[in-house]
């Protein structure tokens, strides 16, 4: 099955800094989503991005499907960005395979 690898596993930033999170897939995916898990455990859908680039405020994501990776950019980070970021992918079904996540801590 599909394997998902995320890097880095942990990231500490000062407020205002920028960061890039990476997600590699072992096989092609038709569905790719990025999630933010907040301190209360909720999984918030950030992007559905099987290919191309999308932006939403300070966040943007790029997926290069042919090379089987996706990047999540966080600009001007804020303390509320803290939490765990997961990427997940699937083939033609909704069976998403999640990565291990990147734990982000933004310090004031």
């Amino acid at each position: 099955g599909i394997q998902v690898e995320q890097s880095p596993p942990d990231l500490i930033l000062q407020e205002g800094a920028n960061s890039t999170l990476r997600c590699n897939f072992s096989d092609s995916v038709n569905n790719l989503q990025w999630f933010h898990q907040n301190p209360w455990g909720q999984l918030i859908n950030l992007f559905y991005i099987p290919s191309g680039t999308k932006q939403n405020g300070r966040l943007s994501a790029t997926t290069v499907a042919t090379e089987r990776y996706s990047l999540l950019y966080i600009s001007s980070s804020q303390t509320t960005d803290s939490g765990v970021y997961f990427c997940a992918g699937s083939g033609n079904t909704g069976k998403l395979i999640f990565g291990q996540g990147t734990t982000l801590q933004v310090k004031p």
Binding site: G41, Q42, N45, F86, A88, G94, K95, L96
Partner: protein
């Protein structure tokens, strides 16, 4: 924005007891899922459900687990006889045909 609603938010139960976790998916979605996350670990797929039957399940989803859509709005996960290792956050999700999943806030299950 439409959301997936889960109840209860937290349940504590004794080992061996039956537990039912409930979910109300987004109203026009056709595909329903349960995932679980053991504390500190990644989110794992349990089961997907479409057209009133299971379409796919993982090896975690053994005979102790069952899912049901008892009416037009609810989607439930039943654990027949809970074990300590069933302690986890259980997430319900739903999707439209595009398979963009929207997750609920989760139900935290603690088995003592």
């Amino acid at each position: 924005e439409p959301e997936v609603t889960q109840t209860p938010s937290h349940q504590v139960t004794q080992m061996g007891q039956e537990v039912i976790l409930r979910c109300v998916p987004i109203s026009n979605h056709l595909y329903f899922y349960w995932y679980r996350q053991i504390l500190g670990q990644k989110v794992e797929f349990l089961v997907s459900f479409y057209n009133n039957e299971i379409s796919e399940k993982s090896e975690i989803f053994d005979d102790q687990f069952s899912v049901e859509r008892p009416d037009g709005s609810n989607f439930t996960l039943k654990i027949r006889s809970t074990k300590l290792e069933d302690s986890a956050m259980y997430f319900c999700a739903s999707s439209d045909r595009a398979n963009v999943l929207t997750f609920g806030a989760g139900s935290r299950l603690t088995v003592l």
